[in-house]
Amino acid sequence: MKFIINEYPSVAEQTRRGILHRVPLRVAVAAVGILILGFLALGAYFIRPVDARSVDLQRVLNAPSFGHPFGTDEVGRDLGIRLLHGLRVSFAISILAAIVAILIGGLAGLVAGTLGHWVDSLFMRIVDFVSSQNHLLLGILLVVLFRPIMGGAAAIVLSVGMTHWTTMARIVRGELLSLRERPFISAAINGGANRLRLGWRHYLPHLLPSMGLGLVLLVPHAIFHESALSFLGLGLPPHQASLGNILADGRRSLLAGAWWTSFFPGGLIFIVVLGIGTVGEYLRDLLSPRWRSELEL
């Protein structure tokens, strides 16, 4: 006897039938582009490291040419190679920062959702406060506080992590509250599971997909935040070239008429943020349509 007739295949079924046939072109282009850029960024480390030898004062601020398709910077380094190195640093820092943000947010949501009562309201007030703050301003404050001790890179990771965790905390808490009403949770409690086991065995596996998705969606924000801080001179030290640093260098040459030193670094930030954002939003709509309104990061 069948009461419910499934006219449409479930999401899981659709996924099994071959996700690749229905991926929109722009998402496919974005994914392939990001993968290529990622491989190039990793490869640049092995092909040609940027060091004192790459400084060439004979070729200061050369316009893009056949030998240097992206031109050279103010001390004669090839901008293309330098950009790939910067991309690697930016990728590493933003992915790390996104992981930190997800961990802080996940933990806060977990604690608030499982303990409830006054802990819940306290945590939610903190979430309200942090999310109402100006992210960049709070980020600057955090970098100032932690940079002298931790160094630029770690301070940026912390700064991004501590300003971007709130959405994740809200989502994890919300999911927990709805999970709590499900029968298998009361079954586990009646079966004698303590809080630790409940959290680890029963809650966490249900939260992992949203946390993974949150990670992908946070990376573009982290890249923007990192490059903005570095651009303001409040990020990485100049010898660790990130995209923001290279753009800040390029800004100095702008009034001298060198357009390529600021056009290409900023363009790369733009492309990377757009590409990862496109893939992330596609994944979000695919996995959980109801997130559409919730996760306007």
Partner: protein, 321 residues
């Protein structure tokens, strides 16, 4: 209604107290050493001098007392002394920078509103045409464009190549008497802020209008034979803009974040530029003051939006009174 307003206004200082407590705890817990940041790498500074600086700044007191001293400064309204940038009261430094910032953000906000209304409405009127497609695609793409890059591109084109507009500052240094309000200096900063924030509002107007145009009362007006334009402007647009009232606060916050970068690039004498310099020289009292002011704006903006919403939408006014 009045009771509600009073209630909300009375909670404002409480929230600000919470913000102050939170940021102060953050500073107190962090391993940051303000004296070392001030003295720098100089090793010739003796312990006695350092102790004197600590006493001068009140850092030899226990943290709780420091917090209450700072609170006292906040209540008194001077927010304490700026350490590095000027050595003057923080509020004085901030006050001299507030005007240009508010003017810049205000102009950009108005530009965003006008542009978004026009583009969004036209996109809905010519739905699924090439124009709609352009608005959607450009809007989608522009959400990823970093404001500091857009600023540099505009600088490159209009200041370096074409030499039509000045590259930064607020007035001509060669002719300082030419007047303080030279509008040519405003175009690039306002344009940058507006262009980078535009797409968000345009897409909001478009989506909101599309949603409203499926409502029963819109269909009903159409069925009555009302002119399509009249339906749009009398019924659809006001209702589509209603949700925006709640978003004003957060949107102004976004604009202020953008203004930090834009002001730094164009050397605009505003708060964002000040925040960057305070960050570079690790001037904590100034940075905390700006943070406090920023959250005040966001809270006040949200309060205003809340009240505005009540005035605009009679549906939520009744049950709460």
């Amino acid at each position: 209604m009045i009771k509600l307003i009073l209630c909300r206004i009375f909670t404002l200082p409480l929230i600000l107290f919470g913000v102050a407590a939170f940021t102060f705890t953050l500073v107190a817990l962090s391993p940051f050493d303000p004296i070392r940041a001030y003295v720098g790498a100089e090793t010739g500074v003796s312990k006695a001098t350092k102790a004197e600086i600590a006493r001068e700044w009140g850092l030899d007191q226990p943290p709780l007392q420091q917090f209450f001293t700072w609170l006292g400064h906040i209540v008194k309204g001077d927010l304490g002394n700026s350490r590095l940038v000027a050595g003057r009261p923080v509020l004085e430094v901030i006050g001299s920078r507030l005007g240009p910032s508010v003017a810049l953000v205000g102009c950009a906000f108005i530009a965003v509103l006008i542009g978004g209304l026009i583009l969004g409405t036209f996109a809905v009127m010519f739905r699924d045409s090439w124009f709609d497609w352009c608005v959607r695609s450009i809007g989608y793409v522009m959400t990823a464009a970093p404001s500091f890059w857009v600023a540099l591109l505009l600088l490159q084109v209009f200041a370096v190549q074409l030499r039509w507009l000045p590259a930064g500052g607020t007035n001509d240094l060669r002719a300082p008497t030419s007047g303080t309000l030279d509008l040519r200096y405003w175009i690039l900063p306002v344009l940058t802020l507006a262009v980078t924030q535009q797409s968000w509002f345009t897409l909001f107007v478009r989506n909101s209008l599309l949603e409203i145009s499926r409502e029963d009362y819109v269909q009903f007006s159409r069925a009555h034979g009302m002119d399509e334009l009249a339906v749009l402007f009398r019924h659809a647009l006001p209702n589509a803009l209603l949700p925006f009232a709640t978003l004003i606060g957060s949107h102004l916050g976004e604009l202020m974040a953008g203004s930090i970068l834009v002001e730094t690039i164009f050397d605009w004498p505003g708060l964002g530029n000040l925040a960057q310099r305070a960050g570079l020289s690790a001037d904590l009292p100034l940075l905390l003051g700006i943070t406090l002011l920023g959250s005040f704006f966001v809270i006040a903006g949200n309060l205003l939006a809340d009240l505005l919403y009540r005035v605009l939408d009679p549906r939520i006014r009744e049950p709460l009174e």
